[in-house]
């Protein structure tokens, strides 16, 4: 048994398979950042820090005639979203029910996916700085009308090219901005989505949690997500009526090339 303590939960093997599958289906579409950045790992729950390859001097030494330096590392953070499910619903699933109530799991999956996206693009105070915050480029205002997006996205791509950042490029869009893009057709009925894809030569990604949009290169080596324990469901406690579970992951994130992204504000 590992740290998730799944064996202690009053959940059958088929019940666990149902919960894991439901979580995967809810998480995958919402984990927009993972479609655009480099992913390393998973390196396991015991993996605690990312090597930065840097060190700092120590002001003292244990004896005369020597000096010392201390390695700098980036600690992994743990992200957790708790939820509770009715045991009666899980018993019905074991009986073959097809419409099991798993809304709490769905909500937790969405929340943790949004949190991961926000951490990557806008940072996590005290943990790491996000892509949009670190970008040295002047922010571009998207405006209200989606018809103007091609001009602004093309402008962002041009800024990246001027900085020597090659493509292909990806576009992370917040919920509202994504909706506007999908529902908009330009003059002649040409879908805006296709026009933007041609400019970027890369994907347009629904990234709930992103404020506005971010254009970034997909060439690799610029935005580094290091996974310790990848997203998992663990067991917390139970009583006669509910079982309390959680979704959890550990990770670090760092930006190697701040100029490889341009933030577009809502």
């Amino acid at each position: 048994m590992n740290h998730l303590l799944r064996e202690l939960a009053p959940i059958s093997d088929s019940g666990w398979a149902l919960l894991d599958q439901e979580a995967r289906e809810r998480l995958a579409p919402a984990l927009g950042a993972r479609r655009l950045i480099d992913f390393s790992g998973p390196h396991g729950w015991t993996h605690s820090a990312t090597n930065l390859g840097r060190s700092e001097p120590l002001c003292s030494a244990p004896a005369d005639g020597v000096s010392g330096r201390r390695r700098r590392v980036l600690p992994l953070v743990e992200l957790r979203a708790e939820f509770a499910l009715a045991r009666e619903e899980l018993r019905d699933a074991d009986r073959g029910a097809e419409d099991v109530e798993l809304e709490a799991l769905d909500r937790a999956a969405h929340q943790i996916a949004v949190a991961e996206n926000v951490a990557v693009f806008h940072g996590w105070e005290g943990a790491f700085t996000g892509i949009a915050e670190l970008s040295p480029h002047e922010r571009i205002a998207l405006g209200e009308a989606a018809e103007g997006y091609p001009r602004q996205v093309a402008g962002a791509v041009e800024r990246l090219l001027c900085s020597g950042i090659t493509g292909p490029y990806g576009l992370a869009l917040g919920r509202e901005q994504y909706r506007r893009v999908v529902e908009t057709a330009e003059h002649g009925g040409y879908p805006l989505l296709d026009h933007l894809r041609k400019i970027l030569e890369g994907p347009i990604v629904w990234t709930p949690g992103v404020r506005g949009a971010v254009v970034l290169t997909l060439r690799g080596g610029d935005f580094l997500f290091e996974s310790g324990q990848d997203l998992s469901i663990g067991y917390q406690s139970h009583d006669d009526s509910v079982v309390r579970l959680y979704l959890e992951e550990s990770f670090s994130f760092r930006v190697a090339t701040p100029e490889a992204a341009v933030a577009l504000t809502a």
Partner: protein, 129 residues
């Protein structure tokens, strides 16, 4: 170029499975190349040719190892078993049996094949929506 690395209709397979299959095919090709160089080196007498082939075989070692590492990252159960076998001294078969038993035991609850208990989502680069 053929597409026979796919055992099932490619249009029915998810993107991550296609990628996994491509790397499995690549791993096989690198292993074959290593074996071929081994045979050539065994019979070659020209020192210059030998040096070239040893260098080329080193490239194949690198390619094979990169393919393997990629696949192990995408298949946690495989990684767990490999961890118990690779770079260990002692009886290889014994290590293999132990690693398999431990991996299967840990994976007996939750999703089959994922021994760390995770959902096995990993990278979504290139995944379709």
């Amino acid at each position: 170029m053929g597409f026979d690395q796919y055992h099932e209709p490619p249009n029915e397979l998810p993107a991550e499975t296609l990628t996994f299959a491509r790397l499995c095919a690549s791993l096989t090709e690198e292993a074959e190349a290593i074996g071929w160089y081994e045979q050539r080196i065994a019979v070659e007498r020209d020192p210059e040719a030998l040096a070239v082939m040893r260098d080329a075989q080193g490239e194949e070692f690198k390619h094979f190892s990169m393919d393997l590492e990629f696949l192990l990252r995408r298949a946690p159960a495989w990684r767990e078993i490999a961890r118990g076998i690779l770079f260990q001294s002692g009886d290889i078969v014994e290590h293999g049996e132990e690693a398999e038993a431990e991996a299967l035991e840990e994976g007996s609850s939750g999703a089959p094949g994922i021994t760390d208990g995770s959902l096995g989502i990993g990278s979504l680069r290139g995944a379709g929506r």
